[in-house]
């Protein structure tokens, strides 16, 4: 009889993880394998090609992309090593084997630009590893993606070291700005501007300026397929995330004249860190939800937040921020989703998804609305103004676009009619009124009455924009001015215009009319009242207008 003793354990006794080709370490290895083509591409694009094409490029410049990645990896590895050593941890290297310490540094190096100083990268990797990972208890316990924590740290603390470095040396000569910078500065016209610089395939392949290794959407897609086949990540987050951004940018594109063309949204999703973020950052398993429903909700929010940040904030890139923001909600989303999945309760599922849908739609709509153009107004410029001498109304002519539009107003400057119905809208009337306010008549004929042989004209004139009109009532008999009454109640002679006027000089309203009547054939000869020249002049001006009018009537 056998006396074999057996070992006890918990069911099940076959574990996939006991196989050599499966397990967390294998998944992390596959994750690194998926990153390799991107690192190589970054080296070719930022190191090798400039080295071949430029004489001034040193061998160290050529190796810089690889050095950045290596330094990033080493820094975060050493940070963890030192941390565990200082804590007096036993079996430090065993612990490091299962905490995958190099990954945050590698990722950080890949999302920083080529020209980032090494010391900035080192600081970022230390910060990200320590505050993003170790303080939470190491691998598996961190709330935020360590690489992104480091990224946000260095981009905010050392903005001046990073922002100017987005172009690699060869790109200084060929390119003006990164696509993201162009898109961020002008969302209506950004896309055509970019597409004139880089064809869409170049953006897709990644031959555009940008961070070290995140420019290639194509290679990210390849990596995505690899990771999906290896079952390292789940399709939900990357696919839904990118699809959400695609749909929202399509809507924005449609508002901006790209309704029949997906070029706009394609440019948007291929530019910047979206693919890299969706494949490598958002799917980071520790910091993203674990349940399938949670992944869907998480990815939807990532999509709308990215669009929101890209269009509404001052930063052109919203991927890192939205992933970090959603990292905060991972636990909540997971709790909600776990209860949801097992609830087998239609109402609960529908209500939850309705709330999520509304939130997503709301944030999405707000993000989209930033890029929706206002009603397009053509440029309106003032051209000329004349008085209609039959009706005494005012006629303003404006140039709108390439057309002339005539606007008739009463003497109170209220718009009576607009000659072109296209521009007879509230918005244009507002614009016309605004321009009319700036171009008021300096003098006009207010009215005309005929009493027997006498023709009585009321003429209004004024000195400058802010002043009241002075009303002059001028009586013509047989073509000659026979009477002139001036109402200068609004005039004040003690102001800067009429400096030096004294009571003894007499009021212009009393003195000038007599002089006008006396010199009506040669008004230039009328002497203004000393110290009240301006007031005198507008009375003379009224007389000129009246005479000109009378002469025009005779013809």
């Amino acid at each position: 009889m056998s006396t074999q003793n057996f070992v006890l354990d918990k069911a099940p006794y076959i574990r996939k993880a006991d196989n050599k080709g499966y397990g967390t370490a294998v998944m992390m290895r596959d994750f690194l394998i998926a990153l390799l083509p991107l690192i190589l591409f970054a080296w070719v694009k930022n190191g090798l090609l400039p080295y071949i094409n430029m004489d001034t490029f040193s061998i160290w410049d050529m190796l810089r992309p690889l050095l950045l990645v290596i330094i990033g990896a080493a820094t975060s590895y050493l940070t963890e090593l030192v941390f565990y050593l200082l804590r007096g941890e036993k079996k430090v290297f065993r612990k490091l084997m299962v905490s995958f310490p190099a990954i945050p540094g590698i990722l950080l190096a890949m999302i920083l630009p080529y020209g980032t100083p090494y010391w900035v990268l080192v600081l970022g990797a230390i910060f990200g590893t320590f505050f993003g990972k170790l303080v939470f208890g190491g691998f598996g316990n961190n709330i935020f993606n360590p690489a992104l924590v480091g990224y946000i740290f260095v981009t905010t603390a050392f903005t001046s070291q990073i922002l100017p470095n987005y172009l690699n040396p060869s790109e200084y000569f060929t390119a003006g700005a990164t696509p993201m910078a162009t898109l961020g500065s002008d969302f209506a016209n950004g896309v055509p501007t970019i597409l004139s610089d880089y064809p869409l395939w170049k953006i897709f392949v990644g031959l555009v300026p940008g961070a070290l290794a995140e420019t290639s959407a194509l290679l990210c897609l390849v990596a995505l397929v690899y990771l999906l086949v290896r079952k390292v990540i789940n399709w939900r987050i990357p696919v839904i995330y990118i699809a959400t951004v695609f749909v929202l940018t399509y809507v924005i594109g449609a508002f901006n004249g790209y309704a029949a063309d997906i070029k706009y949204s394609l440019t948007y999703i291929f530019s910047g860190a979206l693919f890299f973020g969706a494949v490598f950052m958002a799917t980071e398993p520790v910091t993203s939800p674990r349940s399938p429903n949670g992944k869907v909700i998480y990815a939807l929010f990532l999509g709308v937040l990215t669009v929101l940040f890209r269009y509404r904030s001052s930063m052109p890139e919203g991927v890192a921020t939205s992933i970090l923001l959603m990292n905060c909600f991972t636990v909540i989303v997971d709790r909600l989703a776990a209860g949801l999945r097992v609830a087998a309760n239609k109402k609960k599922v529908i209500v939850t998804y309705a709330v999520v849908g509304l939130l997503v739609l709301g944030i999405g709509a707000y993000g989209v609305s930033a890029a929706v153009p206002k009603e397009v107004m053509e440029e309106v410029t003032y051209k000329e103004q004349v008085q209609d001498l039959d009706t005494f109304d005012f006629q303003y002519t404006f140039t709108v676009g390439e057309k002339d539009v005539t606007v008739i107003t009463g003497q109170d400057y209220q718009i009576k009619s607009v000659s072109d119905a296209t521009y007879d809208t509230d918005k244009y009337r507002e614009k016309f009124a605004e321009l009319i306010g700036k171009h008021k008549f300096s003098g006009y004929i207010a009215s005309k009455t005929v009493e027997g042989a006498d023709t009585i004209l009321v003429v209004k004139t004024k000195r400058s924009a802010g002043r009241e009109y002075v009303t002059s009532t001028i009586t013509f008999t047989a073509g000659q001015i026979t009477a002139f009454t001036a109402d200068t109640a609004g005039e004040d002679y003690n102001d800067s215009y009429n400096e030096g006027w004294q009571e003894a000089n007499g009021h212009p309203k009393d003195i000038i009319p007599g002089r006008i009547i006396a010199n009506q054939d040669d008004l230039d000869a009328v002497q203004p009242v000393t110290g009240a020249t301006d007031t005198s002049n507008i009375l003379i001006q009224a007389a000129r207008l009246a005479i000109a009018y009378m002469e025009a009537q005779d013809e």
């Binding site: 056998s2 997971d334 239609k346």
Partner: protein, 432 residues
């Protein structure tokens, strides 16, 4: 009710383990020197009906379960009762009292064992015979078969579960190869016992030759439901949901179905035709830890250590190994091999322990969520259990878990999920 079909997961390279035994003819081990009939049924102690020194015959009632699922327990060999309180290891993982019978190798049969006229049997009579012969569900639960037939609910379909989805086990398959006609007749008796309209036999779709054979023998009297090679496709709920399109909470009868294991159908056939109680069964003794893995046709109460000795013992240089009563996904590991075969034990797996000791923490991949047939969130249940958050735990509904083991199986960090969810299940059920 929001009806979501439970789902299965393909276990790659574990279909393979069935080749250890599946093409071998049954190995007969019908003459054990001693048998130990466990005095426990589904955890319920049974009342002993014999005394030490009594001579018993094959098929004689020696004990009885007396609760609402009353069912007799029979002697599986003829001989003398040596003890009525011999403690032996049981498939539940505990030592249980057993009736120890010393075999006299005479195979004297009890008088009750005689052929029946099957044609005139009414529904009630069949049910009574099945009860008297102690037929229980042989799929693993040990639920008395007659209770399922005695339902007042209208039954539409009898499902014969020949899926055997758990890795390594081939007992049902081996038995069907040999007793296919009995199984089909047994299925017909079950149909009569439940007034059902039709019989559906659920078989793994890759068992093509078996399907051909069934069609050849049964024609259109039964229909075949081929299931995908996924685990746990042989789970009662999984089959009922797919075959009837209905869900249920308690028993399958709520969905108009009665589910019986193929072995149970054979036992029903023997009971109805010959009044033969359930005293013999097929057990797969397998795993790389056994020299000669076999489907063993043996007496209930036989000691597994005796059978393994008859099979040539354990593999050499076994080292640390598991001795598992039941399948590798749901079974119970035992420290000693003095295990007795009870009525619902279908396999014993002995396999070397291969464990990767260095395991990282949960990386949050969510694979346990993805595989769960009842859509639980095992890792979150475990965390809620560790944080002692009962309200949160309740919202995760761990009581739906049926401990299939898939979450622990799939976990890349080798976290003990199944056992923790099972604990959570107990805790939630206990707090009600």
């Amino acid at each position: 009710m929001f009806f979501i079909k439970s789902k299965g997961t393909h276990l790659p390279d574990h279909r393979g383990h069935k080749e250890l035994t599946q093409d071998k003819p049954p190995f007969l081990f019908l003459n054990p020197e001693d048998v130990y009939i466990p005095l426990i049924e589904q955890g319920t102690p049974c009342e002993v009906k014999v005394k030490v020194g009594d001579k018993v015959k094959v098929g004689q009632v020696i004990a009885e379960r007396t609760d609402r699922f009353a069912i007799p327990i029979h002697a599986s060999v003829s001989g003398e009762v040596v003890s009525v309180n011999q403690r032996m290891w049981h498939a539940s993982g505990r030592m249980v009292p057993c009736i120890h019978i010393k075999n006299d190798f005479q195979e004297t049969k009890a008088e009750t064992i005689k052929p029946n006229k099957t044609d005139g049997l009414s529904r009630a009579e069949i049910i009574d015979i099945v009860r008297a012969c102690g037929v229980v569900g042989l799929g693993g639960s040990g639920f008395p078969a007659y209770v399922k037939y005695k339902t007042d609910l209208p039954i539409d379909v009898v499902i014969i579960n020949a899926v055997e989805c758990e890795p390594y086990i081939t007992a049902d398959y081996a038995q069907m190869q040999k007793h296919l006609d009995e199984m089909l007749r047994g299925a017909e008796y079950i149909r009569r016992a439940t007034d059902a309209n039709r019989i559906v036999i659920a078989v793994k779709a890759y068992r093509k030759s078996l399907i051909e054979k069934i069609i050849l023998r049964a024609g259109d009297k039964v229909s075949i439901y081929p299931v995908k090679d996924v685990y746990p496709a042989g789970w009662e709920k999984y089959l009922v949901q797919r075959i009837t399109g209905k869900n249920y909470k308690g028993l399958p009868a709520e969905a108009g179905a009665v589910v019986n294991n193929s072995g149970t159908a054979i036992a029903v056939c023997h009971a109805v035709e010959d009044n033969m109680p359930l005293v013999e069964k097929t057990v797969t003794i397998t795993g790389t830890g056994v020299k000669d893995p076999q489907n063993v046709y043996t007496k209930i109460g036989a000691k597994v250590s005796d059978i393994i000795a008859a099979l040539g013992g354990y593999a050499e240089e076994l080292g640390d190994a598991y001795f598992i009563a039941g399948g590798p996904m749901t079974g119970v590991a035992l420290k000693f091999d003095a295990l007795v075969i009870n009525r619902c034990l279908s396999s014993v797996v002995v396999m070397p322990k291969v464990i990767r000791e260095l395991n990282p923490e949960c990386l949050g991949c969510g694979k346990c969520n993805d595989v769960c047939p009842v859509f639980l969130a095992p890792i979150q249940i475990k965390e809620a259990l560790e944080n002692d958050d009962l309200d949160l735990l309740k919202s995760y509904k761990p009581e739906l878990c049926m401990e299939c083991g898939l979450c622990s199986y799939i976990c890349p960090s080798r976290i003990e999920l199944t056992s923790n969810v099972a604990r959570a299940k107990k805790k939630v059920l206990g707090s009600r």
